[in-house]
Each structure stands twice: as structure tokens, then as C-alpha cells.
Symmetry: C2
Subunit: 314 residues, 2 copies
């Protein structure tokens, strides 16, 4: 008879980076549990069902240029651990019909946790100015930006207002009520709140239409539920002249989720998780899959590597 | 009794510019006849069914940043002609679920014809280099570019090869067989064949992945069936080293549709009709809908206005 020791195979923990278009999904949960990653992972025929622990759970309709997750794979006895490139191609093959893609994968130690290792999250919000009606949004930009009504926005006023969001504040006014979220501290530190001109898909071919793309960028260790969408909506209200820049400061000081003006919520369509900074990984470069390896390197910068005391990569 | 003269209402001819994402449609015909423009136009309650005469019919999966069409609207007796802005908003309202948008509309004389007035068509083909596998195409670029296998392409060789396509040639080798198309002269004059670096959707946020976007641009009075896709495919084969630049010249000289190498057909996903040059319209500016009027002005340049002997606008 085979020994009991032979029947136990070790589990291998992986960190994966992935991107997705959120339009189709009512919640990232849908991607994970039914139509996306989780289902694709079952094709790896693990001994124990595979669970993805996501660094940043995004809301309905929100997109991600780069998100990350860790997962454990326990194979049948005697089977070697999957190579990273095999894991990537197997997951992507089964994800093919879905608007979600694995960018890269790395073996990590069992103590690495994708969510708790995230030192910062950076979100991009895409605004389209110059539309008098939503039908003027280019067909290739649908569900990928927000075109607030009322034409052009007062960008300098928005930039003044954004300064009030920088630093450490109680963001209760900028947190949507959410019974599912555990009660956490409403105090967050915003280290970046920028407004920059940007471009649209092939927009250099229709500059004559007078449309302008702008990007709002926010960076923090973490954000409250719908905090970015409330911050963007309030800044747009400033750009429209519905609020003055100093109203942002007053909203913060109210520390009351009910105090947020209901007209000022930005839709999910313009929001993209751009990158994550993970602690304790060091630069992620691998000769095995050079075209994917860059993602980790960009998401996990020197800042993250220095902050960690140990290296979780294997 | 009402006089017979009162029962006859005059028809009004309009020129409309529109854009669409071709991925969803098996043929633009589908858009026109069943799910798109034609159906939307019936909501205008015309006396006679409305027919769209398209400037450039595009093939399955091909996109358009700007295409144009003319249509006649005959309303019930006593009803005034639709204002352009009313026509735009009515069509767009009914097109809302479809990835197609009316950009602008102009009243024109009854002798104006959208197809016969087109002095030139400009197509853009988007290439993505640096992918070793199609799963590396960003999710936001799916069906909007072509990522040929084999990594980076030899762009200088492609640029050399493109020179052979410029000027007046018999393009029989670059025309796909099509029993539906009337037999027309295979002699065409290519006035532009450029290869330029470009950018992808939000690609400034993932430059680290080593992906490169390029655009091939072709301009001619008209093109043969699938001519642009055959030209692009042949240039990519040169970039991959499968063909030498001088092979393009030899393919042209064969003047035989069967001589085209079957491996070298570019897919429709990367192809965009970028603009049209219409004759006899002059600059199209209107204070009534300033954000849309620009499209016509860009598509109908001074060249077109000079070439025409009459002004068809009303």
C-alpha cells in the first residue's frame, strides 16, 4: 500500500496580476465565483477548490488595468507544482470569452497575502468634457468614461478643490453606506489627487470634435466604499460651479455620509484601478515570460520593496 | 375637400455623419436593415420608408470613426422638414442600445449623393506589437487591433514595402473575390500609405508591458474589396520576414487575386474607416450644433470644396 505521506501533496501559493473590463459584471464577485477566475481555475484540476484572495475588490462597473490576487493550488500526489507560465496560459485559455486577462504570475511564500500586502492603491477616473448630450460620447468610449452634462468644466477650480482632499482626514462624508462592509476607520491618507489632460481611444483622429479627455488620479493605502466616486463627483460639481472649492473642505469637516450631495455621485463607468503597491516582493522580473513580468515590476516599486522586511517570492 | 397639391409633401435630403464599432455586426447591412439606422429612422414616421445611401460600405467587423450617408425624409402633408439637430437626437435616441452614433447632419440638395460625392476614403489599421500570444492583448483593445504573432515587426522594411503600393496600379492581386460586387476597374491610385507609432487605450499606464501600437494609414478615392486588409497583411508579412519588400512589387505585377499568399490576410478587427472627403459641400459649420459640426468640416476639406462646381448644402 502507498504510504500516507505520499498521499499528501504540498500546496503552492501564487500571486497573479490581472486586468478586466467591469462593464459586463454586476460585481467582481460574479467574475470570481461563477464566470471568471474561479471557474477557469477549476480546469487546473486541483485537489482542493481554488479560492482567489483579491488585493482590491472593485464595485459594479469598475474596471482594472491591474489588480492582483493570491491563490493556493494543491495538486494530486506526485504532480509537480505548475510553472508560472503554465498557470497563466491555462487560466487565460479558459477565461477567453470573458473580458478578463491574467497578466503575470509569481510563486510566493505561504505567508504572503494579496490584500494585506497592498501598501497603496492608485485609481484613475476618466472624464470626457465637451459633450452637450451623452449621445456625443464616441462609441468606442462607452462605459469607459463619464461625460458630465453642462459642457466644459472649470479645471483650475477642480485642482484647487482637490488640494483639500490631500493628506489625512476623516472621510466619513465621502463613504457610501454599505451594510456588507465591516466597520473600519474612516480616517484615510490621500497621497495623490491629480487632474491631468489625457486622450481617448484614437482621439487624435477626431480632435476637431472639441472633445477633451481628462484623468483624475488618486493614491492612498486604501479607500472607503465608493470614496473615489464621491470625491470625483464632488470635484466635478466644483468644475460645474455647483459647489465652490471650499465646500470640499466643509464636506470633509461634516464627517457625515448623509451630508454628501446626492447629485454629486460619479458613475462607476469612468473608474479604473490602475495599480497596486505590494510589500515584500522586490522587483518582479522573470526571464521566463518577459512580456508579462513588467506588470509586477511597475506595480511593486522600490517603495514597496523597502517597506517589507522579508522577500515572499520563491 | 383638400386639394391634391396639399396632399403631396416635399422630400428633404440630409447628409449624416456617423461612427460605429463593427465587432457586433456580421455586415454593416445588418446595422442598416434591421438593428440600426433604418429601424431608428422609422421612428421619424416618414410617409415613405427611409433608405440610407452609405458613402463607404464596410465589411464584417470593420469599424468607422466617421462614415457618411444621405437619406430622404418625406413627412406627412403640412409637417415641416426636420431641423438637423432634431434628426440627430431622434436617430441617436433610438440607436442608443447599438454601438453606432450619428455625429452630425446637414440638409443638402436632391442631387447630392453620398457615395458618388466621395473624393477619397482614408482607412486606419491598428497593429499591436510585442505580444507573444493573443491572450496578452489588453482587454480594452480586444477586437480593436491585430496582434500578429512573432513579436516585433521590422518597421523600416514595412515602410520600404509600402512605397511600392503608392501611386496608380492594377491592384487585382490585392482584391478578394466577391461575387456580390459589380466588376469594376482594378486600377486604383493610393495617395497615402503611412506607418506611424500610435497609442492604445490608456496605454500610457502600462508602457512597462513592452506593447507597441502602430497605425497604417491608406488614402485613395476608393478601394477594392478587402484591398486594405490584403495590403496590411502583406506589409506585416514583410515585417515578419516572410516576404521581402520587393515581393510587394512582384505581387502587384501578377495582377491575379489567386496570387495573394493565403497566410497574409489581415483580420477585420484592426480596420477603421477614419474619414471621407466629399465633393461640393464647402466647410460644414453650423452654429446650431457646434459640437457635432466639426466632423463634416474635417471630413470635407478645402480640397473637396474646390473640386466641386456647385454647393449642395441648403
Amino acid at each position: 500500500a502507498r504510504s500516507a505521506a505520499k498521499m499528501v501533496s504540498p500546496k503552492t501559493r501564487y500571486l497573479v496580476f490581472f486586468q478586466y473590463c467591469g462593464t459586463k459584471y454586476s460585481f467582481l464577485f460574479m467574475v470570481l465565483s461563477r464566470v471568471g477566475l474561479q471557474k477557469a481555475a477549476q480546469n487546473l484540476k486541483p485537489v482542493v477548490p481554488i479560492k482567489f484572495h483579491i488585493s482590491s475588490r472593485t464595485d459594479s462597473g469598475v474596471h482594472a488595468l491591474c489588480n492582483s490576487a493570491h491563490l493556493d493550488i494543491q495538486r494530486a500526489p506526485g504532480k509537480p507544482a505548475f510553472q508560472e507560465r503554465v498557470l497563466i496560459s491555462c487560466l487565460n485559455r479558459h477565461l477567453k470569452p470573458e473580458p478578463i486577462r491574467i497578466l503575470s504570475a509569481y510563486r510566493v511564500t505561504d505567508s504572503f497575502h494579496a490584500r494585506f500586502s497592498a501598501l497603496s492603491r492608485t485609481y484613475i477616473y476618466r472624464l470626457l468634457m465637451g459633450c452637450t448630450h451623452h449621445s456625443e460620447i464616441p462609441v468606442f468610449e462607452r462605459d469607459l468614461c463619464w461625460a458630465p452634462t453642462g459642457g466644459y468644466l472649470n479645471v483650475p477650480a477642480m485642482q484647487d478643490a482637490a488640494q483639500f482632499l490631500l493628506g489625512t482626514h476623516d472621510f466619513s462624508t465621502f463613504c457610501s453606506p454599505n451594510s456588507n462592509a465591516p466597520s473600519r476607520s474612516p480616517v484615510k491618507t490621500i497621497v495623490q489627487a491629480d487632474i491631468q489632460p489625457s486622450s481617448g481611444f484614437l482621439s487624435h483622429h477626431y480632435e476637431y470634435r472639441g472633445l477633451e479627455f481628462w484623468e483624475l488620479k488618486f493614491k492612498s493605502r486604501s479607500f472607503l466604499y465608493r470614496q473615489v466616486r464621491r470625491m470625483v463627483g464632488a470635484l466635478v460639481a466644483v468644475g460645474q460651479g455647483k459647489l465652490a472649492p471650499h465646500h470640499i473642505k466643509e464636506l470633509l469637516e461634516m464627517k457625515d455620509t448623509q451630508a454628501f450631495p446626492s447629485f454629486a455621485m460619479a458613475p462607476s463607468s469612468g473608474l479604473f484601478l490602475q495599480s497596486l503597491l505590494l510589500v515584500g516582493l522586490g522587483p518582479l522580473h522573470s526571464g521566463a515570460f518577459p512580456t508579462n513580468a513588467g506588470c509586477g515590476a511597475a506595480c511593486v516599486s522600490g517603495e514597496g520593496a523597502q517597506a517589507g522586511n522579508e522577500d515572499h517570492r520563491l
